[in-house]
């Protein structure tokens, strides 16, 4: 049992402990939830320190048999791609628990238990190296989020929760089919082993198979990202979720999609990934611009932030499908940035909601007068989200744009429009909420940050500055892994194209399929 297992186990233990705490002991429930989440965070910091940046491969590996047949393993590990995402999860969970301290007043025990369960699911998704285990965590994280939205959400919560669940579930059953299909050919769920088999040519899929498998994975991830036009569940879910739910959803859950694209779609099916890249990039750019434009006209603050997520995540997808080192680095970095800055935006909008009990922009104005610190903090967060240099998003967006420029300069031109638009909607939002006349309701109800709120927001602000000023703390580990992913997309393509003379595939059927594929490719080459 290594440190990673401990990080995964702590919230799970916390979940079970909470189940046995009497319902009435509300203070104890909150304290236990916070304690376990802080413990998990502390342990995950150990991961960051122990992680060997120079090694690109898996670290903190645990691989034990869960089910013998089919061959399912509990196989978790970290590399540069997943390390920071796991830490992001453990970093945000205590913050979410802090901001829910008072805003959640009903069924407190269930709420905090669900938060801890969600943490396990999300961290597990990033750590799993067994395709099957990945799917298990993927689905398990769905259930607590469904309850968080459905029980503690706002007016239209039921609609939003069901829509969220069904969208994700329907898309992920396709992924399950693909996973089983891969297993039936590779005879293992072990992801590194599958990649090795693909690279050596012992596992081979025909072009047609690759395309379908790619699409099955892609749709599941695209719904989660979400990539335009599969994004319609997102505004509903974000707006109706309680603040903590919105934060976890935006900051971590959406990353499951982009993480999946980088982790699985590219290395396993590089052929289709490259073939479809232009189309996917077009969808990403549509998402960037469309998300920003729709955000601009939102009367509801949460919806505005939600649509801004669609826009920001477009950058991540663009970076991944630029197939350049810089673009990939930027994409991974942007996943973390978006987690921090959009998480902070939702936290701050949540603070405003707790005071004024409204999400409508029109109900605010002149908040800077009664709450100067809140305004300052919001200002920093907003500037980070826009992509102001020295704050985190700038680094990520810059890298992504640079990478996309290497791939195709026209992409960069269109994507840059999104950066400009993000400044428009954010500044306009800030102006309408914090400046101008202060209505009486705002003057009477809005007060400045309380110590507990400070405790929740300061770490986020600190991270924005740190990640904006000194990206070297994070990027080297990322770069090693993204370089390897890019290498894998090269290798697998080459193996396929060069087509070694004697296929080593054991069965006759596989061998004929293989031969047919190579013949097809040769005729294409001619």
């Amino acid at each position: 049992m290594n440190l990673l297992d401990i990080v995964l186990a702590i919230p799970l233990v916390g979940f079970f402990v909470l189940l046995f705490v009497p319902r009435a002991a509300e203070g104890a429930i909150r304290a236990i939830a916070l304690g376990f989440s802080l413990l998990a965070f502390a342990a995950s910091l150990g991961l960051a320190f122990q992680y060997e940046t120079i090694r690109p491969g898996e670290q903190f590996v645990t691989d034990i048999v869960w089910v013998a047949s089919p061959n399912i393993h509990y196989h978790v590990s970290l590399d540069g791609l997943s390390l920071w995402l796991v830490i992001l999860t453990t970093f945000l969970t205590p913050i979410c628990i802090l901001i829910s301290w008072q805003s959640i007043q009903s069924r407190i025990k269930e709420f905090f238990a669900m938060m801890l369960l969600l943490e396990v699911g999300l961290a597990g998704v990033f750590a799993a190296q067994d395709l099957f285990l990945f799917y298990v965590f993927w689905e398990v994280s769905l259930v607590p989020m469904y309850f968080l939205i459905g029980i503690w959400g706002h007016e239209r919560r039921i609609y939003a929760a069901v829509k969220f669940f069904l969208y994700t579930f329907a898309a992920s059953v396709l992924m399950l089919t693909a996973i089983i299909y891969v297993y039936n050919h590779a005879h293992t769920f072990n992801y590194p082993e599958i990649l090795a088999k693909l690279a050596s040519g012992t596992l081979h899929f025909s072009d047609f198979e690759q395309k379908l498998l790619f699409l099955a994975f892609f749709v599941a991830f695209a719904v989660k990202v979400p990539i335009f036009p599969l994004h319609t569940w997102l505004p509903d879910a974000h707006v109706e979720a309680p603040t903590a739910g919105s934060v976890m959803l935006a900051s971590v859950m959406l990353k499951m999609g982009t993480y999946g694209l980088a982790r699985f779609c590219l290395p396993m099916f590089p052929g289709p990934a490259r073939a479809y890249a232009p189309w996917i990039v077009v969808l990403a750019i549509i998402g960037i611009i469309y998300g920003a434009l729709v955000a601009m006209v939102q009367p509801n603050m949460k919806k505005l932030v939600a649509y801004s997520s669609v826009s920001h995540l477009g950058f991540v997808v663009l970076g991944i499908f630029s197939f350049t080192q810089i673009g990939m680095d930027g994409a991974v970095y942007q996943m973390l940035n978006h987690g921090i800055s959009t998480g902070a935006l939702f936290v701050l909008v949540g603070f405003l909601y707790e005071r004024r009990h409204s999400l409508a922009i029109a109900d605010y104005g002149g908040v800077a007068t009664p709450a100067p610190w809140l305004s300052t903090v919001f200002m920093i967060t907003m500037l980070a989200s826009i992509g102001l240099p020295t704050l985190n998003n700038f680094v990520g967006e810059f890298l992504v744009l640079q990478g996309s420029a290497q791939a195709n300069f026209r992409w960069t031109i269109f994507a840059s429009i999104g950066v400009i638009l993000s400044a428009c909607y954010m500044l306009w939002l800030y102006q309408r909420v914090f400046y101008g006349e202060t209505p009486d309701e705002v003057r009477h109800h809005v007060f400045d940050l309380k110590p507990r709120e400070w405790a929740a927001i300061v770490p986020l602000i600190a991270m924005m500055v740190w990640m904006g000023m000194y990206s070297q703390s994070f990027l080297p580990a990322v770069r090693k892994t993204t370089a390897r992913i890019l290498e894998q997309t090269q290798v697998n393509v080459e193996v396929r194209v060069q087509a070694p003379a004697a296929p080593t595939a054991p069965t006759f059927r596989a061998a004929t399929a293989y031969r047919a594929a190579t013949v097809r490719e040769r005729s294409h080459a001619r």
């Binding site: 013998a68 047949s69 689905e139 039921i158 059953v173 396709l174 399950l176 089983i180 297993y183 039936n184």
Partner: protein, 488 residues
């Protein structure tokens, strides 16, 4: 050498579970006359004891596996798996019936006797190795079930359910019997292995047309029994009308036994012509999944909803049959076990909430259950999540194995369409979760009595079973996999 027809001692041991059940059932009938209104619960206790003894006997019988009574019965891993399953279903049914029978003021002696007879019939079915034996088991099981479906005499819906079940069930059995007759005429034997040998080819193999007729007739009969589309029409009506614990029993016990003979006949006797019959199963599986899941979307009565869901789940198992492989057989066995747990659990909650006379059966009556009885709600959530097929529950691994088997047999489209309908299914199960947790209780909610001891056991055992199958599926699956080699 003169042939001795006297069975050896070991053959009685192999038949022990059935003997125990029949003796206990008869005993209950007699006691019912003698004791008359002394104590209602004593019959339940006796039948629990009898079922426990039968289960022990089933396990004991497996210590000396082999044929019995001139090869008409066979005790193998497959038979033992299903014997334990149907007897286990029986125990859970009895546990959830205590409070129900008391509440409805129904006679208890006959109820338990009929239940035991029905289970005995199912035990005969699953261990039969010969078509006449299968038919006898089917009839013992069915006739007792018809009476159980209409056990609440004064209830109009129960009467309708029983009549419908009886009429359509008899038709189905008749179809099956015709099939047996044709097979006997074509192959000259009713032994499954002998039929297998004849069909495997050689000069004596019968014309495909005639054997096709036989397969089709048997398919119709068995399709009725497992409520696979297009023979599912009776299922929602019967499951809705029958007393709730009986519905739980009918959707799991007799259905599992029917699937067992389905598997045994099609994977043994008709195995050589699998290529000809699997399209039938393919179509039936897809149709069941589509009809079951889409029809369940529109139901507001919880029992009817679970009835349609049971049609859909029959569809999933038919997918495993259409895979016509050992893996598929094992997957079907696993799924039936998982389904038994989750469905009995769900029906037990329904029975608990429905109140005297089963008045509260609308989905809306579940409103606010999460606040009013958090424990019950949490258990029902486990069953519903398992029915959806969320990981870490038995239902998930069941679906996984089934669709994996289907992909193994290159049924890619059936897999994709099946999984998509299962995503549709998520909606109607979620609706129950939504009402339970996210709606406020109705203004004048039905009064909730605390969970009785029997019901508590009938909820907790399936919940633990569901989670166990979801976290440690290997134990059951290994056994199923080893027992799935039916062709000998």
């Amino acid at each position: 050498m003169p042939v001795s027809f006297a069975p050896a001692n070991v053959e009685y041991i192999r038949f022990l579970p059935e003997i125990v059940l029949i003796v206990a059932g008869t005993l209950l009938m007699v006691l019912d006359v003698i004791l008359r209104k002394q104590s209602r619960e004593i019959y339940g206790h006796i039948s629990i004891l009898a079922l426990a003894a039968a289960m022990a006997a089933a396990v004991f019988a497996y210590s000396s596996p082999g044929p019995a009574f001139s090869d008409m019965l066979i005790v193998d891993g497959f038979a033992t798996f299903f014997r334990v399953l149907v007897i286990g279903v029986g125990i859970l049914t009895v546990l959830s019936s205590y409070r129900f029978l008391e509440r409805e003021g129904a006679e208890t002696g006959e109820y338990h006797a009929l239940l035991l007879f029905s289970i005995a019939g199912q035990c005969v079915m699953v261990s039969a190795n010969e078509l006449i034996m299968i038919f006898i088991g089917l009839e013992i099981s069915s006739i007792a079930s018809y009476v159980l479906a209409g056990y609440l005499r004064d209830d109009k819906r129960a009467n309708e359910a029983a009549l419908k079940y009886f009429l359509l069930g008899s038709f189905a059995t008749a179809f099956f019997l015709y099939g047996v007759a044709v097979v006997y005429g074509m192959t000259g034997s009713t032994y499954l292995t002998a039929i297998h040998t004849v069909l495997s080819g050689g000069p004596t193999a019968p014309a495909p047309v005639f054997i096709g007729v036989a397969v089709a007739l048997m398919f119709v009969g068995l399709g009725f029994k497992v409520s696979g589309a297009p023979f599912q029409v009776w299922a929602p009506d019967v499951y809705q009308g029958a007393p709730t614990p009986v519905s739980a029993f009918l959707t799991t016990g007799p259905k599992a036994a029917a699937f067992a003979i389905f598997l045994r006949i099609f994977m043994t006797a008709f195995e050589p012509i699998a290529r000809d019959w699997y399209p039938l199963l393919w179509g039936s599986a897809l149709l069941s999944m589509i009809i079951g899941n889409f029809a369940a979307l529109m139901q507001s009565n919880i029992k009817r909803l679970l009835g349609y869901s049971s049609v859909a789940h029959a569809g999933y198992v038919l997918v495993a049959l259409a895979a016509r492989s050992q893996v598929g057989t094992a997957a079907a066995m696993f799924y039936l076990a998982a389904y038994a747990f989750m469905n009995i659990g769900a029906f037990a909650v329904v029975s608990h909430l429905s109140g005297k006379g089963e008045r509260f059966l609308s989905v809306d009556d579940f409103a606010g259950l999460g606040v009013r009885q958090p424990g019950t709600a949490a258990l029902l959530s486990i069953f519903l999540l398992s029915l959806i097929g969320v990981p870490l529950t038995g239902g998930f691994f069941g679906k996984l194995y089934i669709f994996k088997a289907a992909l193994d047999s290159h049924l890619v489209w059936l897999t994709v369409l099946g999984l998509l309908t299962s995503a549709v299914a998520a909606y109607y199960y979620l609706r129950i979760l939504v009402v339970m947790y996210m709606r406020e209780p109705n203004e004048h909610p039905a009064e909730l009595e605390p969970l009785s001891l029997g019901l508590r056991a009938a909820l907790v055992i399936p919940a633990l079973g569901t989670l166990f199958l979801g976290i440690f599926p290997a134990w059951v699956l290994d056994f199923a996999g080893r027992s799935a080699a039916l062709v000998r």
